[in-house]
């Protein structure tokens, strides 16, 4: 194609040739990226707060742990090159790879010991202390060798270490982790313009293969409409989890963009106060379940992009049982159950909702659906602090809607003091089996037993798994389609 042009001569043709050269230059693989996400992290220290937005920015980018989750939820090596366990499963040995913090200091076994002991200390602000509680002792026989002894066999110990809460810090820089983090990951922190964006640049001393992107900007856009506009205008190269579900069709029609509907680990449920009358009566809870059409809730709250669930368990997990057909919508039967429980005319109750759009929207629909069987639900919107204080901590609620986003969090049904006030020896026994099971089939069967039991008892109303809607410019590859944990590892991204 270029040949006939080259044969011609003259300044005008030269200019044309230059123009041709300029075009491929602009289309060359880019090495910068603007990644947009909905929420801004309040701080950047994943060991100092529970906000998912912290992990969405830092996990696998700024900070790393001994091990990490990959995009399929499998535990893979990170700062630990390899590891081994004793036959009884009590002693774990982690061999560290040669790695450096962004300030140049080497990652040593002492840093691991420091980080884990800090996490479990009485004044620790770590949100997932359970990860570290089984630890009896941490020894550092060599600078690159960590030996952890557990108090008792813990099947999910390694899974815990892969979470952002088990990040490895250095004692010298941990104090600034919240605002000017110094980690070990493939990207280092540059600048944070609060309320708008955060800039990262490639750490060329990272232990892994050199990432394709030289720099990356995280932008925080909470308004759904603004998210769409920013994508259409090219202000965002990708959005990690779009809030504007209704705009999916519009964005799909845009030839410049690629839309992927994936899953998170967020089981969205109507949590019911099982300890409080009239909800303490299983018939009332079952009646409620028969009044709620989860497919319509899914449609109205997240445009049908979520995956309906019939129990508190993720369809991503091999132990998943599809229990969605268990208690089909039947208003007449629901009213009969309510009458049998002593509420022929229904009753009034409150529905306290935290701020996310999925909760507020589902809440309006649930209130309308419960109204059909005479349960008059008053909606009370709460900010997160009030929700945590009143609903979660003081258990002062009738019903609420929330997504439980931690992977494999069905253990909450075995806790005595958890906010929805459910007590079941059967679930506790089954949960204990998941911890002690020595074979995988045994462990999966224990998880299935829990699912069946909590659906039978209709502890809560199980609605749907929160979707993850990834929208990216065509040519950008490597974004995680699903979120086994909320994370956007930049090292896996490249422009084609």
């Amino acid at each position: 194609m270029m040949k006939p042009i080259r044969r011609l001569a003259g300044p005008a043709i030269l200019a044309l040739g230059l123009a041709h050269l300029a075009l491929p230059a602009a289309a060359q693989p880019r090495d910068a990226l603007t990644l947009c996400q909905t929420l801004e992290p309040p701080i950047l220290d994943p060991s100092g707060g529970a906000a998912a937005a912290i992990r969405e920015v830092t996990y696998g980018n700024i900070f790393e742990g001994l091990v990490a989750y990959d995009r399929n939820g499998k535990v893979v090596p990170a700062l630990a090159r390899e590891w081994s366990t004793s036959v009884d499963g009590l002693v774990w040995q982690f061999r560290l790879r040669p790695a450096r913090f962004h300030d140049g200091s080497a990652v040593t076994a002492a840093d691991v010991k420091f980080s884990f002991e800090r996490a479990v200390a009485p004044d620790s602000k770590n949100a997932q202390k359970w990860i570290f509680e089984p630890i009896a002792a941490i020894a550092t026989p060599a600078p690159d060798l960590v030996e952890i002894t557990l108090k008792s066999f813990t099947a999910d110990f390694l899974d815990g270490l892969a979470m952002g809460d088990a990040t490895i810090f250095s004692a010298a820089s941990v104090g600034k982790a919240a605002t000017e983090p110094v980690g070990t990951g493939p990207y280092r922190f540059v600048r944070w313009q609060r309320g708008d964006r955060l800039l990262l640049e490639r750490n060329d001393n990272w232990w892994g293969p050199k990432p394709a992107l030289k720099s990356a900007t995280f932008r925080f856009i909470s308004d759904p409409q603004a998210q769409v506009s920013a994508l259409l205008a090219g202000d965002c190269d990708a959005h990690t989890n779009l809030g504007a579900h209704e705009a999916v069709a519009q964005l799909r029609a845009d030839p410049r963009l690629a839309v992927t509907i994936g899953r998170t680990e967020g089981e969205t449920i109507v949590a019911i106060n099982n300890a409080k009358a009239p909800f303490s009566d299983v018939r009332v809870r079952q009646a409620m379940a028969m009044a709620v059409d989860r497919r319509l809730v899914n449609e109205g709250a997240v445009s049908g992009l979520g995956t309906p669930i019939g129990s508190h368990f993720s369809p991503n997990h091999p132990a998943y049982l599809d229990l969605t057909a268990e208690r089909p919508v039947d208003l007449a039967k629901a009213k009969a159950l309510l009458a049998a429980a002593g509420y022929p005319n229904g009753f009034a109750a409150t529905l306290r909702l935290p701020p996310p759009a999925y909760a507020r929207r589902s809440g309006e629909i649930i209130a309308a659906m419960l109204g059909q069987i005479g349960i008059r639900a008053t909606i009370e919107p709460l900010e997160w602090p009030q929700w945590l204080e009143r609903v979660f901590r003081n258990k002062d609620f009738d019903m609420t809607i929330v997504a439980h986003v931690e992977p494999l969090d069905v253990n909450i049904y075995a806790r005595d003091t958890y906010y929805f006030g459910y007590q079941s020896p059967a679930v506790k026994e089954a949960y204990a089996r998941t911890k002690t099971a020595r074979t995988e089939p045994e462990r999966l069967e224990a998880f299935r037993a829990i699912q069946r039991q909590i659906t039978e008892d209709q502890v809560n109303l199980f609605l749907f798994m929160l979707p993850k809607i990834t929208v990216a410019r065509k040519g950008l590859t490597g974004l995680w389609p699903n979120w086994p944990v909320p994370a956007n590892p930049l090292a896996e991204l490249r422009w084609e």
Binding site: P122, P385, R393
Partner: protein, 316 residues
């Protein structure tokens, strides 16, 4: 004269102090524990207590109040609960959006308001006057946030000329940043321009009926010449003082409009701080807003008093 000044200044300081006290009391008894909020759902009571201690929530309220007040002079307003950075810095950062936005809106409001008001006065009781006055009534009736939404619908989504929201920052490209402020400023300016136009019209008509204007007209100057050469300047003095009172509405307007356009200004920070239960941040922000309103009104009041000795005696 000096006595009047001192009396007003003391009153101003007392009002500010009282405002600070009220804000502190209201916000200290808000339900909900900010430490618990930050720690999330699976935190233990010990770690929440540790955070409370770190944030100084276990110290007596009086000590915290005095320290906070002192902070307005030293710039040490404490660390934001949620962001863990100094509050003073956060506020300063956000002022870079809110101040230009307010000034742009004020500029637009004055330009359009005074022009339209003068035009209406010049054509008093004729068709142009009726049309302009009708428009100002509409301007006062349209909620500024809805106007903002309409502007987005037309200029951002429909025509694609201007961004729908967000703010790229001054550092990257000042041109782009100004463009991002244009639609919000227009939305913010609408009710201000409408009421300024009405005030300009009525003070202008009042001025036009005064003797020296009649003299000017008698000398043979046309109505519009008279307005430009004589009346405008005199009519603008009361308009400027009204502007001070309008400022408080403008300030409150930024809270709503910044949320329409997702601008990282003070107003959005306030709503975010409320959402995050960031008491230290809310307290300082609210006092900042209230103090600005009180100070601007106080300054206008003083200027009024100095200009018009009758007002010094007592309220009419």
């Amino acid at each position: 004269m000096v006595l009047f000044l001192i009396k007003r200044l003391v009153g101003l300081v007392l009002t500010l102090l009282f405002a600070a006290l009220v804000i502190f009391l209201v916000l200290e008894i808000l339900p909900g524990d900010p430490a618990a909020m930050m720690m999330g759902v699976s935190a233990t009571p010990e770690s929440v207590a540790a955070l409370r201690a770190e944030l100084g929530l276990d110290r007596p309220a009086a000590a915290r109040f005095l320290e906070w007040l002192g902070g307005f002079f030293t710039g040490q307003l404490g660390l934001s609960y949620t962001y863990r950075v100094p509050v003073a810095g956060l506020i300063a950062e956000r002022l870079a959006v809110t101040v230009p936005l307010s000034l742009l809106a004020l500029g637009l409001a004055v330009a359009f308001g005074v022009t339209l008001g003068t035009l209406a006065a010049a054509h008093a009781h004729r068709r142009a006057d009726l049309i302009i006055m009708g428009m100002t009534q509409l301007g006062l009736a349209i909620p500024n946030f809805w106007f903002g939404i309409l502007l987005v619908l037309v200029f951002a989504i429909g025509l694609g000329w201007l961004p729908a929201g967000g703010f790229p920052g001054w550092a990257a490209d000042p041109m782009l940043a100004s463009r991002a402020l244009l639609l919000p400023a227009i939305a913010l300016a609408l009710p201000q321009a409408a009421s300024l136009a009405r005030i300009t019209r009525s003070t202008m008509l009042e001025t036009l009926s005064e003797d020296y204007i009649r003299t000017a007209r008698a000398k043979g100057l046309s109505r519009s010449q008279t307005i430009r050469r004589h009346a405008l300047r005199n009519a603008l003095i009361p308009v400027l003082t009204i502007l001070g009172l309008q400022f408080s509405f403008l300030l409150a307007g930024t809270i709503v409009v910044e949320n329409v356009f997702a601008l990282p200004g003070l107003g959005r920070l306030l709503i975010q701080a409320i959402g995050g239960h960031d008491l230290i941040l809310i307290k300082s922000l609210v006092l900042f807003y209230v103090a600005t309103a009180i100070l601007v009104n106080g300054a206008v009041d003083l200027a009024y008093g100095l200009a018009d000795p009758r007002l010094r005696v007592g309220r009419a």
